[in-house]
Amino acid sequence: MGDASREIMRQARRQVPEWTPSQVHEALADQHEAGPDQQEIVLVDVREKHEWNEGHVPGAIHVPRGFLELQIEEAVPDKSKTIVLYCAGGVRSLIAGTTLQQMGYKTPISMSGGFGQWKANGYPFVQPRTMSEAQSKRYSRHVLIPEVGEAGQFKLLDSRVLLIGAGGLGSPAAYYLAAAGVGTIGIIDADVVEESNLQRQILHNTKRVGQYKAESARETIEALNPDVKVIPYIERLDETNVARIIADYDVILDGTDNFPTRYLLNDAAIIANKPVVHGSVFRFEGQLTVFKPHEGPCYRCLYPEPPPPELAPSCAEAGVLGVLPGIIGLLQAIETMKLLLGIGDPLVGRLQTYDGLAGEFSELRLYRDPQCPACGEHAHPENLPTYAEFCAVPAR
């Protein structure tokens, strides 16, 4: 350390009070006792990212010294709080204290001896979960969003989403959820890829005609993002497997093509308390909503009975503009992300409709039916008809 450095340190020591790790430990313990309303002390770690990653004091926030002036006002807006700064040995935190004083913070304090002394005293520390270098690069645009951040990205990586169908809606949804790093994606689809699917079902390709869609989806997704584990189910969802399959997932994305499956899924999801992100399409138009058990209406509240086949043709019978399920499937993917991250206002109790020809979005209010046989006051969702015999033959 040269003369100028020593002089800076001397001045900093005169200006900025210092607490020993024991004092900090005691003050934090008192604060913990006082409860969440009495949080007067904020602990700020000013070390570099790699130092933070090797371990830090529990409850500390991380603002590297180099970003202090730029980030501290967002991290700690209240300048009357007591800010305890620490670094590795107590030097950088002392200089950081003078910076905070210049910025108008009333009580910056430097922890003498830093994190090294804290650890030497045997006080607790945590090692944060860290992303690999490849993950840091891949998810950098997510990490930059405050509502997602590194914590949100880990939440996504730990999340499990089940897609009912790897078709028009399931394809774009699965592709983007996989890109976003949703760690486990289950896909149930018993069909094989046909040429007529390729106009919209972008998970598949010409070479995979004849292959099971769930397997084709796995190949595409794993090539896109090795962080994602795909669990294919080559079967149809029915009474015998629905409870077992949905039990393992956080959110279910319904991209099926027939009413019996939609009613079956609705009832099983209510019993298992799983949110269903619902979407459907017809030619140039689509609709979506979120059925969150007991917080909003369910599918039977919205449609107590299915329409007769002539009013509910499938894509195979009526046609669909290939891009349209792309729009609706991606809106479903956004709703899924919101549910997984716990952010925003999910479409619970709201039906969003899109008219591609008009270029119009509309929204309709949905209500819970207190008499609903699936989610009402005297409901028995385990024992309801799914209208299997009543509906059009499922089509691809």
Binding site: G168, T256, S280, P307, P308, C315
Partner: protein, 90 residues
């Protein structure tokens, strides 16, 4: 006159129109006016007199089942939306 918007599958019963105007101060009146011109719609919307269980009717953004059903007031600036469930996803 109120505006009535029809879901794609219902348009064949209304001469292919996506949107039509209809007169009336209640939903019952508006539908009656529609049936005069498009009798086939009645079979879909009110097969036995009461409202169909599989076609939802909204006045503006509100489901009439949670308003006053057929007695729901409809003003000249209101939009009535006829929307059955859609199944397509594949």
């Amino acid at each position: 006159m109120a505006t009535v918007r029809l879901a794609p599958v219902l348009r064949t019963f209304a001469g292919g129109s996506k949107q039509v105007s209809a007169q009336g101060t209640t939903l019952a009146d508006v539908l009656h006016d529609l049936y005069e011109r498009f009798p086939a719609l009645q079979e879909q919307l009110q097969p036995d007199g009461s409202l169909s269980r599989f076609i939802n009717i909204y006045v503006n953004d509100q489901d009439v089942r949670y308003l006053q059903g057929l007695e729901t007031t409809v003003g000249p600036a209101d939009t009535v939306i006829l929307l059955p469930a859609m199944a397509g996803g594949h």
